[in-house]
Amino acid sequence: MQLYAAIAVLLMTTLFLFSIRLFRRTKSNTIVLTGLSGSGKTVLYYVLRDGSSHQGTVTSMEPNEGTFLLNSESNKKGKIKPVHLVDVPGHSRLRPKLDDFLPQAAGIVFVVDAVEFLPNCSSVSEYLYDVLTRASVVKKKIPVLICCNKSDKVTAHTKEFIRKQLEKEIEKLRASRSAISAADISNDFTLGVPGEVFAFSQCRNVVTIVEASGLKGEIAEVEQFIRERVKP
């Protein structure tokens, strides 16, 4: 009789613990930095981590990742959750690496070069379209921050201009892509509302756009975004 009671108690406790583990969804603290090659992701990564980009960067061949407190918060007291920041190379041959990190992302920072924007406009919008139509991004409604980097330069475009251009290009992409896949990556979803001109506000996940400068360290808005995603 006692044996049965003991077994029953054991079963109950294990079930209880299991159910707690299932229901307590651990929130991810991964933020993914992505964008075209040369847009300033590695610089941004190091500025967020250390406050400066040290002696400069070259084209990345591998992702940079690390879990740390943002540099500006290292002086704050209290329990702050460290951020797992991942800088994915932007070179087109290394695009498949993005798939390794997207599923666990809590937020995406899409870095755009505000100075060399117009020559690369089509590649930028194509990549952005790819990111915004990935299954993992759409289903989990991962928020995307479009960061117009290098905005300290005189010839940098404003974020309004960039936003309008991107919306126009994505509208064109919508028309030409519809249900066609590009290379191996399949666009499972389409963007926007059929019949209306595309605007970022139509995306199911939140897309915001800010200006920043990695080299000068003006990254307050980016940090704010990251902080909002990774709540302590």
Binding site: T42, Q55, P89, S122, I180, A183
Partner: protein, 622 residues
């Protein structure tokens, strides 16, 4: 003198640059090195040449795979520095001692580097002095001895210089002389020609000038050759005295009607009722379901085990098992050798060109050397994983292969999007041109064909038939016209009647045929197409390397513009005829850097696919 020496992580952060070595580098040689060489799996090459307006550099590099560091030395191309390789190795050893993943500033390395550089330069000076001492002694001896010593010296010198211009070593075959000094492999040959001369240098320079002139003459001779297409007009023999009788092969009754062509009316136009070809959805738009990877991995493990067992092992079985469990200290080249050889053989059985397989294996070796083996992994599985990653990287397109988007972009600018199909004879250009036209039509793009194959009999009729079945306009001028002019007029016609795309068919030509290649280059230069598509068949073996490299080279050489158009994309045909010997795709992409845009897998209109990178890599490594 060294221009610059950089140390950076694979993630892109520069850890250290030499501060005493002057000014900034012109252009962006490091980024170009990474993009065109290291990421293209050519890291097994000895050096890389970079040209920027105002400077021409040679770059050499070495990796520290365990720590994930890259060491790059940049110097002027005309200086053949001998000590760079040694210096890089010493720097690597010195830096890996003080490296710490958390540190980002390494100012203390300046001192170490200064010493290392002095050492390396001193050693190079010694070598040079020893060579110079040998030289005047030789010139006093007899002729025969001069030749012998000269060749020795030449070989030593060229041996030394090979290290410095490994990149130039490829030019050793042809007698291409670069501006500036002409050391290197030529010294050997030239010095054996010296017949008792006081100063070897003078003679070589006079030899060079003599040779230059003769080469110049040879070049002008070929330039004067007319670039007319070889015309094998077959003249029908009018006088046949004996009428031919039909040959009877077997007991079958003789056929009376041998002519199966369609009935022709008065002006030669065939008047058949043509129904627009609609054979359903082109396979370009069908998603390919990729089978789950787990099954493949298990198969791989079994296969690899079977492969590794018959391999001769230098160490005992027990020690290798122990190492695979405990994790070996560092991977050396000898350990990688058997695994790489097995992988190379496997690639070659899958019809990858031998040269390409060799280069790939060298590149993978360069990226794995010195790396620590994780515990519970075998060397072969690490090599396999690295090779898989390298293959995926090569086959992933560098630029967008979304043609529809480019077509729409051209449409907005009110010009037609011109695609030129080039290739050797018999690969399937005209057939696949029709397939591409069918696919484009399905996406509501208006297409026009241009029949610029004015040589092969029946080429124009073939395209005419396709055009009629697809109900699209065709621009043709018959046979024996200049293809470049026909193409130009076709594009003008397309602009006039508002076609979105012009597909230009050209005659097949062998890559060695100089006049034909010049004609092709003229066509491309004159019309400046948006896409130059090289059509290659999947059955080709080692010739793929030759075809593509010669096509690219001829297009670059014979073009008269400063920025020559090269091959932009590859169309792989006859893919249904090879089962799993898919290596031709890899050879072609590696040698040209152009992505595979279409894959032809049959002879009907719908048999056009996209290249599925993951399945190709899986098939290659199976």
């Amino acid at each position: 003198m060294l221009e610059q020496l950089l140390i950076f992580t694979r993630g892109g952060l520069i850890l250290w640059t030499c501060k005493e070595l002057g000014d900034a580098l012109k252009g962006s040689p490091i980024d170009t090195l990474i993009r065109s060489c290291l990421l293209e799996e050519r890291s097994g090459a000895a050096s890389y040449n970079y040209d920027a307006p105002g400077a021409s550099y040679t770059l050499k590099w070495t990796f520290h795979n365990e720590l994930g560091l890259v060491f790059v030395a940049v110097y002027q191309r005309i200086l053949h520095l001998l000590y760079v390789d040694e210096l890089l190795a010493m720097v690597r050893r010195g830096f890996s001692e003080i490296y710490d993943p958390k540190r980002t500033v390494y100012n203390d390395f300046d001192e170490t580097f200064r010493q290392l550089r002095k050492e390396a330069e001193a050693r190079a000076e010694e070598l040079k002095k020893s060579k110079q001492m040998v030289k005047p002694v030789n010139n006093n001896k007899k002729q025969g001895q001069v030749q012998k010593a000269g060749s020795d010296k030449g070989s030593k010198k060229s041996g030394g210089n090979l290290a410095a211009d490994g990149g130039d070593g490829d030019n050793g075959k042809g007698r291409k002389l670069e501006n500036g000094h002409s050391h290197g492999n030529h010294v050997e040959n030239e010095e054996t020609r010296i017949t008792g001369v006081v100063n070897g240098k003078e003679n070589t320079s006079s030899n060079i000038s003599a040779f230059d002139v003769s080469k110049l003459q040879k070049r002008t001779k070929t330039g004067k050759k007319t670039d007319s297409v070889v015309n094998k007009g077959s003249k029908v023999d009018p006088k046949t005295k004996v009428t031919k009788k039909n040959r009877v092969w077997d007991d079958a009754p003789p056929q009376t009607k041998l002519d199966f062509t369609d009935p022709v009316d008065g002006n030669g136009n065939e008047n058949i009722v043509v129904v627009a070809a609609n054979q359903g959805e082109s396979m370009m738009d069908v998603e390919e379901i990729i089978s789950s990877d787990s099954e493949g991995e298990e198969d791989d493990d079994d296969d690899v085990e079977k492969d590794s067992k018959p391999e001769a092992k230098k160490k005992g079985w027990f020690s290798s098992m122990f190492e695979s469990i405990a994790g070996k200290a560092n991977l050396e080249k000898e350990d990688l050798e058997p695994a790489l050889k097995a992988l190379k053989d496997r690639l070659m059985t899958k019809n990858v060109a031998e040269e390409i397989a060799e280069k790939l294996c060298e590149s993978v070796a360069a990226s794995l050397e010195g790396k620590k083996l994780a515990s519970f992994t075998r060397v072969s599985s690490t090599v396999q994983a690295a090779m898989e990653e390298a293959l995926v990287r090569i086959l992933t397109p560098r630029r967008s292969i979304d043609i529809l988007r480019d077509v729409h972009a051209a449409k907005e600018q009110r010009k037609p999007y011109v695609v030129v199909f080039v290739g050797v004879n018999g690969v399937g250009k005209s057939t696949n041109l029709a397939k591409v036209a069918y696919w484009l039509l399905q996406h509501n793009v208006s297409v026009m064909m241009a029949a610029c194959d004015t040589f092969r009999s029946g080429a124009v009729e073939q395209l005419r038939t396709h055009a009629r079945r697809l109900q699209i306009p065709i621009f043709e001028k018959g046979y024996e016209k200049d293809p470049a002019i026909v193409a130009k007029e076709a594009i003008q016609e397309a602009t006039r009647n508002g076609s979105d795309v012009v597909l230009v068919d050209t005659a097949g030509r062998m890559q060695d045929n100089e006049p034909l290649m010049r004609a092709l280059s003229k066509l491309i230069y004159l019309n400046n197409p948006d896409l130059v598509l090289f059509v290659g068949e999947a059955l080709v073996g080692n010739d793929a390397v030759d075809q593509l490299s010669k096509f690219n080279q001829k297009l670059a050489d014979l073009s008269t513009s400063p920025t020559p158009r090269l091959i932009d994309g590859i169309l792989l045909t006859k893919f249904d005829t090879i089962d799993d010997k898919v290596g031709a795709a890899l050879s072609m992409v590696y040698i040209s850097g152009a992505p595979v845009m279409f894959v032809g897998c049959g002879q009907s209109y719908t048999d056009l696919k996209k290249l599925n990178v993951k399945s190709i890599v899986k098939t290659l490594l199976k």
